[in-house]
């Protein structure tokens, strides 16, 4: 079977970016945007799957036209199709809306396996992979740190309480990827040229009403300034403070 392989990618601020709050929302006008770091492992996993078993790889993102860049980045790596799900009336989508939109795109291309990052660098939530799997009534594995392809499915390694679990999964399935089991490839010149000419397919989707209202964004609570000591001879004083003032040891 030549699988239809989907990979979900997201445009997020670079993890080295400062995030400022202006008014009651974060101000992202001056940050550098990148593909969310864990999505790079998902993309690599999707490409490895195609190399092992053939098939077609489709990268899917959710967002406004500026998100085409992450799709073009995926195209430069070698995916076959690039799809963006969006409607101009959408803003501040909650998890329910996001997952419904992405699920409809996955259904649209009749994918048998979906790879995504274990969480996106902006929300850090990690809800999308398992949430999409539930809506499709598929199996899922989250935070995988190992991946092998088999005739009738895949084998993944996931961290568990008592060790790492080598786990067999029949397809269809959603697989969310941690760092560490592969090294994401870099685009070559030919890939970059292909990506420039590639057409982004734009899909619409029906989504429910949001279940949350975002009231505000605020800067993180600031700690009171601490004490700095010069030289290792102050280590005993710090240990005493941790014991007597902070009560943490």
């Amino acid at each position: 079977m030549m699988p239809n392989i989907a990979v979900l990618v997201k445009r997020v601020p670079d993890t080295n970016a400062q995030i400022l709050v202006s008014g009651d929302r974060v101000d992202l006008s001056n940050v550098k945007w990148v593909m969310s770091p864990y999505d790079e492992y998902a993309l690599e996993a999707a490409m490895m799957h195609k190399e092992a078993q053939g098939g077609v790889v489709t990268a899917i993102t959710l967002g406004a036209p500026e998100c085409d860049k992450v799709l073009k980045d995926a195209k430069a790596i070698g995916v076959d199709r690039i799809i963006r799900v969006w409607d101009d009336s959408w803003s501040e989508l909650d998890s329910n809306q996001t997952q419904m939109a992405l699920t409809s795109a996955v259904k649209e291309i009749s994918a048998e396996v979906v790879y995504c990052g274990k969480s996106a660098a902006d929300t850090g939530a990690g809800s999308t992979g398992p949430g999409v799997a539930e809506r499709l009534d598929w199996a899922s594995a989250s935070n995988i740190i190992g991946l092998e392809f088999e005739d009738s499915g895949i084998e993944v390694i996931v961290p568990a309480a008592s060790g790492n679990a080598r786990t067999g999964i029949s397809l269809p399935a959603v697989v969310s990827c941690d760092k560490g089991f592969c090294k994401p490839r870099k685009p070559n010149v030919k890939g970059i040229m292909m990506a420039k000419r590639a057409q982004v397919e734009v899909l619409a989707a029906e989504i429910p009403a949001s279940g949350i209202n975002i009231v505000s964004h605020t800067p993180p609570p600031q700690k009171a300034p601490g004490q700095t000591f010069d030289g290792a001879t102050n280590v005993p004083a710090v240990v005493a403070a941790l014991r007597n003032d902070a009560n943490v040891i």
Partner: protein, 310 residues
């Protein structure tokens, strides 16, 4: 007022202590929750029933709970859990299950909640570089970050109902592989000592391990250390592209304090920084900073702790 439901956190069949914090969060939402225990044991059910602020306990028993399988757990737990606001632990499996449950019910999931004030929930975004304050407009599933809500104490004893509820598992564990590193996981630890590239060589992490042993702490690392040295696995990485941690005490050794590292550990209750560069950004975030090389500071730290803790 919505009904609240707590999904108890278990670890290898035993009740995890964070469950008492989940009950506390449910109480903050305004009601005494129904606590669902997935794959319960008698001792876990009894322990939950003893907690203060619990409405009732449903011990959910089924074959699917022998190993974690997201799809079957979500199906079985969904059948046992009444409608309402569902509270899970923001652990690896807790967040996964929360996502599945919310999707099953076509409601929102709000992960990593760190504060509840009336109807307003606060969650970190961009790994804590900013906070997002939201109000729910209906039922939702929320996950609660450990160490942010005070645990409830002992109560009068709640009624326990046992429900047999299983589902077909979608994934099959073939083998458990022992972790190469048997040390405590940074995501689980109440004290963490982390090393950065300032440790100069991965073999020097042995010095951190000795101090960790004295403290009962986990050993973490910065991204720079993980990316530079193959010997330091990604499972040790603390930061925006590693693990977000919230311990009582975080000791950063030879870590300059890059934004993405700070994002992963800034909510630690107390931060100690040891760095030879007095200008290192980590000092701005430390409660106690020591400007020193690790070679000088760590032996003194180790002997002081051993004298204190025995």
């Amino acid at each position: 007022m919505s009904e609240t439901v707590v999904i108890a956190e278990t670890k290898q069949g035993m009740l995890h202590s964070v469950t008492a914090e989940l009950v506390s969060a449910a109480n903050a939402l305004g009601s005494a929750p129904t606590v669902i225990i997935p794959g319960t044991s008698d001792s876990a059910a009894a322990a939950v029933a003893e907690l203060a602020g619990v409405g009732r306990v449903i011990a959910c028993v089924g074959d699917c709970f022998s190993t974690y399988d997201a799809a079957s757990w979500a199906k079985a737990v969904d059948t046992c859990a009444p409608a309402g606001i569902v509270v899970c632990a923001a652990s690896q499996n807790g967040k996964d299950l929360a996502s599945r449950l919310a999707a099953r019910r076509s409601i929102s999931v709000v992960q990593d909640v760190v504060a509840i004030d009336g109807s307003t929930l606060t969650q970190p975004i961009f790994s804590g570089k900013a906070m997002q304050n939201i109000v729910l407009s209906g039922d939702a599933v929320i996950s609660i970050r450990a160490n942010t809500f005070a645990a409830v104490g002992e109560g009068d004893g709640a009624e326990v109902t046992v429900m047999n509820q299983s589902a077909d598992i979608a994934t099959a564990v073939r083998e458990m592989i022992a972790k190469a590193n048997e040390r405590l996981d940074v995501a689980e630890a109440d004290i963490i000592i982390s090393g950065g590239r300032g440790m100069q060589d991965p073999v020097n992490f042995v010095d951190l391990e000795r101090i960790a042993d004295a403290l009962g702490a986990a050993v973490g690392a910065s991204r720079a250390a993980v990316d530079t040295w193959e010997e330091i696995p990604h499972s040790m990485q603390v930061g925006q592209t590693g693990k977000t941690v919230n311990p009582s005490l975080y000791i950063a050794v030879g870590i300059s304090g890059a934004i993405q590292h700070l994002a992963g550990m800034r909510t630690s209750k107390y931060i100690v920084a040891i760095n030879k560069d007095a200008e290192a950004p980590i000092f701005k975030h430390a409660d106690y900073g020591i400007v020193s090389t690790w070679e000088e500071a760590l032996p003194i730290l180790e002997s002081e702790l051993k004298a204190l803790l025995g």
